[in-house]
Amino acid sequence: MSTTNPPEETMPDIEIDPRDLRHLADAQMNVELDTGDMILNLGPQHPATHGTLRVVVRLDGERVISADPVIGYMHRGYEKLTEFRTYPQITTLINRIDWLSSFANEVPFIDGAEKLMGVTAPPRAQYIRTMLTELSRIATFVLFLGEMSLQVGGITPAFFGFRDREHILNLIESATGGRFHPNFNRIGGIKDDLPWGWLSETRSAMQKVLDSCDDFEDLVAGNEIFQARTRSIGIIPGDLGATYGVSGSNLRASGVDWDLRRDGAPYLVYPELDFKVWTHPDGDSYARYMVRLQETRESARMVVQMLDQIPEGPIMAKVPRIIKVPEGEVWVETENPLGQMGYYIVSKGGTGPFRVKIRSASFSNVSILPWLLRGVYVPDVITILASLYFILGDIDR
């Protein structure tokens, strides 16, 4: 963008007050300096980008003219690798797609394989799966609640986020043996029953989560500086977001009342649960924070509900020792913490799938970035990136 002086004859002939001469000199200097665009590289390794996303930002002064996310720094070739693995081995891999909520990644894939085989997991296994899914949702969101404030300069809540995450990881570890790559689902059920005392531990941990949600609401969301940095910044209109494929909390923060746990094909035990889908009309960074805050509380309440309702019984259906999935195709989608996650599994009848298409939430969520970042100021780029909350493994796969 180069600005040129208007032609001489069109200059208005006005009296110049000597007091204005200084300002005029400044203005003249600004015109003469060629303010070329500045290209700024955010990433591939930058503390604000949650991993290895690279955003090439073109700046005019402090204002962003265009922003192009460059992805692929974390591409690990999942879809190709699934062609060479058996179904139980794939569960190990897909844990690592969205590494913050690993358990939630397993659920749709196992669900799809079970649908192809015609197997249904027993009710107790379904309950345990749902509980662990919601626990991983809480573990994801409490980290967000802390980290979001880190991006606007408040360091203390980040420690709170990690502290609360450890409560949840303790529970997941005691049930599954893994801190955050549980690999706990089996086709037809789950690996082990819950350990003794897990239910009461979970109940007290959920109380801790609810308490710390109150802390976050006071400390972060109620903070004046935080609101000034996030309110009416990075607004995603609901219909436009849906067109870009934005899903999950990011879309609900734009006022779209859509949650696959309630609106999608029924999976796990969500039809039996009583829960509220939170939305926010604003669609800005603050709305995304508030929606995730409320969803953390809602998930904690859902876990407590399930603790009361969980039935006794077996945890594993009768399945053959060597898993062979009959020929067929299936599409399964679930509501992951980051949004809609789906697997399209094509089986030609063998121990492994023929082809798996992975629809991950973050890839679609960041596809709105070029539109969203146009015209914002540089410091707001960081808060918008943080509030969209993507995981790089989920983008690049």
Binding site: P47, M74, R76, G77, R96, L143, F162, R179, G393
Partner: protein, 196 residues
């Protein structure tokens, strides 16, 4: 540093330790100053970055009590880099470039199976199978992902090795000739057995 280079003040062969011969005199002083002021440039890549974040930034693990200071502004101020997570072929040149920017003496901790050897992506077309193909590695932390305690153990073991180093120029160049340290490896188990 003629005296140090000549080995007059360092490398007193008093008693060979488990990781080498302990340094003495000025070398000892310099080494123990370096070992407790490691500036760690973190290279968070994948799942392990979250565990590294838990080790560094969470109140439960708190790596700063070991003398490791995270978050230098630039690799040019760092002594230690933790490569935590999957290194893809697209990312590898950037890692090499930032490693080259670090001033000597510099140390590398390779965290997690992906950085060590490719891990679960050992047959993937886009993953670099082992960061040690690109940069020399001091400590390997196995696990997928390793627990934060394992990273803390890696830091402690690296500090022990720094304490045993000579500070002459030639010894600095020969640093990578030693056997790499593996957390939970045979050498550590032997050291543990010798202690008890």
């Amino acid at each position: 540093m003629g005296l140090v280079d000549g080995g007059a003040l360092g490398r007193g062969a008093k008693k060979p330790g488990l990781l080498g011969t302990p340094a003495r005199g000025v070398s000892w002083l310099l080494n123990s100053s370096r070992r407790y002021s490691l500036w760690m440039f973190q290279w968070g890549l994948a799942c392990c970055a979250i565990e590294m974040g838990a080790a560094l930034a969470s109140p439960r693990y708190d790596a700063m009590r070991l003398g490791v200071i995270p978050f230098p502004a630039s690799p040019r101020q760092a002594d230690l880099v933790v490569i935590s997570g999957t290194v893809t072929d697209k990312m590898a040149p950037a890692i090499k470039r930032l490693y080259d920017q670090m001033p000597d003496p510099k140390y590398v901790i390779s965290m997690g199976s992906c950085a060590n050897c490719g891990g679960p992506y050992w047959d993937s077309y886009s993953v670099t199978k082992g960061i040690d193909q690109i940069i020399p590695v001091d400590v390997y932390v196995p696990g997928c992902p390793p627990r934060p305690e394992a990273l803390l153990q890696a830091i402690v073991m690296l500090q022990e090795r720094i304490q045993l180093e000579g500070v002459g120029n030639d010894e600095m160049q020969q640093r990578f000739r030693g056997e790499p340290i593996v957390v939970g490896g045979a050498r550590e188990l032997a050291a543990e057995a010798a202690r008890t």
